[in-house]
Assembly symmetry: D2
Homo-oligomer: 348 residues x 4
């Protein structure tokens, strides 16, 4: 079978680097071009030093991108919208890793992004990029919009509960702990090492845009509310979401186990992590660095109907490039785990 020709628009960022790392080892893929205006003409390994000796690709300009089978867009938020028709002319299939087409309606977009979407009429052309929720649609999709990293961790943590209408909809509180790579590869005062190192920084106590995705994917016809806060910690990769949900009914931990197993039992990238002893009783993001897993654990409060659901991902993998490749595999009928089998390191 001939290989799928893919190109990456905006491939010098962290998600672009991960896409390259994964797709260079994908047996059904030929990487045709990778663009970067800033690093035009340089070897990709100059920017992604883990690709030394892996590839002799050089960055081209966005305007030099030829037609290809699949175009991955790793452009800054907002940049995909403005040229989406150009990209559609270059490739029949597009996987967009920005936030531009994640939401289904201009109404939701305006609420969280504080402005109208420039192309609201095509929002529904894009399938929201979490395979565990949208696998069947992805199989037929031409356009996929990757999910936000914090949204992915939270949605996967809570999906079985919300889908089964077990949750009191207005009380859920989610606190995510995130690493510095979420901020991208542009340096700033906030990312200066003496400042960012050792920090435990509340950067979004309220108002985080990824809540829009949670509301969209977890409402199931009702109106789910998410009281969300995000805290930066001294970590490069990784998200840990600590989700406090209040159940409608008395359920046992065994009941919860069954529900998660039913929803996720066959999922290749979801693991229920809940052990009685040991140092890794609950999900731990450092174990997932470089992997596409989402680990999920939970604990029921003895004194209330509160269930704490904990989930961990690598924000650049299951939260970005890994999940995009998983979608790519689904869209092409490839084994879903192709090139996504790295199990992670321990100790690390």
């Amino acid at each position: 079978m001939s290989k799928i020709k893919i190109s990456i628009a905006g491939g010098s960022g962290y998600a672009g680097g991960e896409l390259l790392r994964l797709l260079l080892f994908h047996p059904n893929v030929e990487i045709q071009q990778v663009s970067s205006e800033r690093h035009f003409g340089k070897f990709v390994y100059k920017i992604h030093p883990n690709l030394r000796k892996q590839s002799t690709l050089k960055f081209c300009s966005l305007s030099d991108l030829d037609d290809c089978d699949v175009l991955f867009l790793c452009l800054p938020h907002g940049a995909s919208i403005s040229n989406i028709n150009v990209y559609k002319n270059k490739a029949k299939k597009i996987i967009d890793l920005s936030a531009d087409f994640r939401l289904d309606s201009n109404e939701a977009y305006k609420k969280w992004y504080k402005k109208d979407h420039a192309l609201p009429q095509i929002l529904t052309d894009f399938i929201y990029g979490i395979p565990e929720l949208r696998r069947e649609e992805m199989k037929e999709a031409s356009f996929v919009s990757s999910a936000g990293c914090n949204a992915t961790a939270t949605i996967l943590a809570l999906y079985p509960l919300y889908k089964n209408k077990l949750v009191q909809l207005d009380k859920t509180v989610v606190e995510v702990k995130v690493g510095s790579s979420e901020g991208g590869n542009k340096n700033s005062e906030a990312s200066h090492h003496p400042v960012r190192s050792g920090c435990v920084r509340s950067f979004a106590p309220t108002g985080h845009r990824h809540v829009a995705e949670m509301e969209q994917e977890l409402s199931f016809g009702e109106e789910a509310r998410f009281h969300f806060s995000a805290t930066s910690i001294d970590m490069v990769r990784g998200v840990l979401a600590t989700c406090h949900v209040f159940l409608k009914d008395n359920l046992t931990e065994k009941d919860i186990w069954k529900i998660y197993r039913r929803e996720y039992g066959n999922e290749p990238f979801i693991r229920i992590v809940k052990e009685r002893d040991g140092n890794y009783r609950y999900p731990e993001p450092k174990l997932l660095a470089g992997t596409n897993y989402c680990d999920i654990g939970f604990e029921l409060d003895r004194y209330s109907n509160r269930l704490v659901v904990i989930s961990a991902i690598d924000n650049l993998m299951k939260g970005a490039a890994g999940q995009a490749v998983q979608a790519f595999n689904i869209m092409h009928g490839f084994e879903e785990t192709t090139t996504l089998t790295f199990p992670g390191l321990h100790p690390v």
Copy 2:
């Protein structure tokens, strides 16, 4: 004026080390003895290497402790109860840094510690050790029981709101991020560097005992509930508490400011940290390492009546030894900030 003679029972742990660091520089204190069974006969600086060239004290045995004016107990949880009468015979004033006498009733103790308290009748002899709540009682107190570190961070964050009955009592969710020194100075598999480094570990998603202290101090005649979880991160010192409270009424951020200023405006160790820009807009525990401050910030959710209150402390200082010395100063009528003026470092 003659100096107050103090001794420390159990002075080889982290809280004991901090007490020494502070009291060695207290102009009104003479450190008489410090005990440690394990390190009997060694110079204290062998165990607390920051005290090199600061002190020639050696550890004595617990049984060698002479009478003194004030005895600080830094023994393992449970050990203070069993010998409290012995200690009372040695010193008229006792400041206990363990969890043994924090709660006012056997009922609460049993609920959270899963057993009866051995000496419930003396529980009310101990003043709960947060000066901002109990200053007047402390002035007359003979016995003070230091507050838990996570409890201190949470209670100080929320006290103005609860005292003024502004909060919906059953919905508060608190997520604290804690450093490894909370676990004490005994090594374990869980504290092994390759395991503990880089971790984001849910160690108490539910059931943390410090909740008992929050219920006690913040109920104000009603029944406050705290949905609490704790996560260990790669940090040695520090607690950041992210508290989600739901207000009864519509208040503006300006209203909140006024309430906090009214309650805390004259407090020497509380700072309201809420800035429009910069890297330190909200409380940051690393800035507080070695200090007795509790920094508090907040943000009101535009879309709900949720208020996120964020507080930071050094768990060994405001969460243990520093707060104990603050209580000591109050008990003796010394300037409350005596030997507690270290402002913290930046960058760090």
Copy 3:
């Protein structure tokens, strides 16, 4: 072709975990058994949590090990010597990851290990495990003894220079910076997170045993001396060796390039890293976590004949399990990079 049956004696440590991670994905290998006395009967993923969902293997006892094709020994230093004949009866080929058979002579062993070797007569049966130096011997070998991690980093850094007799033999100074996983998976006071975190600890200013391996592999008939020191830093995986060698003759950086290219140009796991700009101009161990690479760079001092050679490895990979699998591949005629293709992560 039928698969090679391998077993691992002592598979609960960090090197054992890495062997499992690698060999589970090796197309020519069947993992038959893994032993651990301490964790007998447990799933291997309970101890190596990155292997969740990767394997249903359980630990057996050392005494239960059946015959196999290749036996990997990951036992504590000293334990391989005492039972080597038992192991030889179980498997025709043995790869020992301990320090027991690294040295060629009892004399060297005694100098550095302060006692006689119990089986000096078989020392030369074992091929020293750095493929770049001993590839031809390995092809025919039955017994390979993996090299020490610090020794591997230093030897690979300096081999081209010593082999070509370019160095003043008594003046070389090597300073390695190492991570905490070098100390193994047993917790101790020294590995307690509040102590080990943030440390820059001189743990072997002199007398490090790995020097014995450097002397053995780099003397080339003369007597090379290595003035070696090791410093622990706040890192889990990784070694950075900073080697100061004094050249006999005036050479240019271009000359040095040529020499390294000649010796290492075809090596699959050696990369010369020396760039004019960027953040990764010299080898950086974090980029190598999980990989089998040894990255080497150098800089010539303008004011002396000093050449600083810098090398980086992952101590658990090129410094232990990865290099052992590389040897395994060579011993069996497999493609040398089989199951060793993970390129590492960035950012990380």
Copy 4:
């Protein structure tokens, strides 16, 4: 006694922040003005958040500086030279924390800074700022030039050996491990957290300018050579220098002890750290964060005449602001430790 009026030119950087932290608590000092062009008009605590509630000072412009008793210059390297006469008109005493006046001769300056010094004739007006070497000169000095941080750590480590002519002069190798605050408070690609975190980066294998200071202070009429390399590690504050010196004669460790005790026995900020056991047997920079100590340890190689001398400092304190205040105290006849008594934290 009336207070000394001091001002700080360029007080928004890390050294300026430390000067403020120290001098705000100095009983004989009144801080008159602090300048910063970039942050003109802001409260100093906006930039130095550890000074919240400590000071209501605001930054003025450099051109607004009034006459004062002592002017501290914390300007970028090069900026002190150009306006030194302006500053001399404002204050009788100047302490310059830049590199501009560290060297005694234009020859040395040109060798290491690659250009002629603009005012070579005044170079000798400035006393080199290490009190342990230049205390007597400082007592009479009007102008002091603070020493480089890496130079301070190295010079203090080796001074007793060089002064007593015990060292083979051309063989000394020094490897320093440094934190990110050495790079100052300007963010860059190299200081971006995802890049700088976890790094072990050889940033100056050769050619570091601080070597000029070592040559100047340690030559004692002969020509000392220093083979120096510097490696950045994941730390904010701190320097650890590992110095390999080769002794001319056979000395025992006891001999070395005596020599260091003789030279440093009365020094308030030097501690010899060399213990038989424990986790802090050798100097450890993290223990020194915020302090003015230089801890020094050593180990003699059994197989050679190599002595490894290890020293640790806080680069912003003994390596910059602390040492400057120490010089200030000496220049004014104050107790040398005034406002420099913070003993450091443990654990940390």
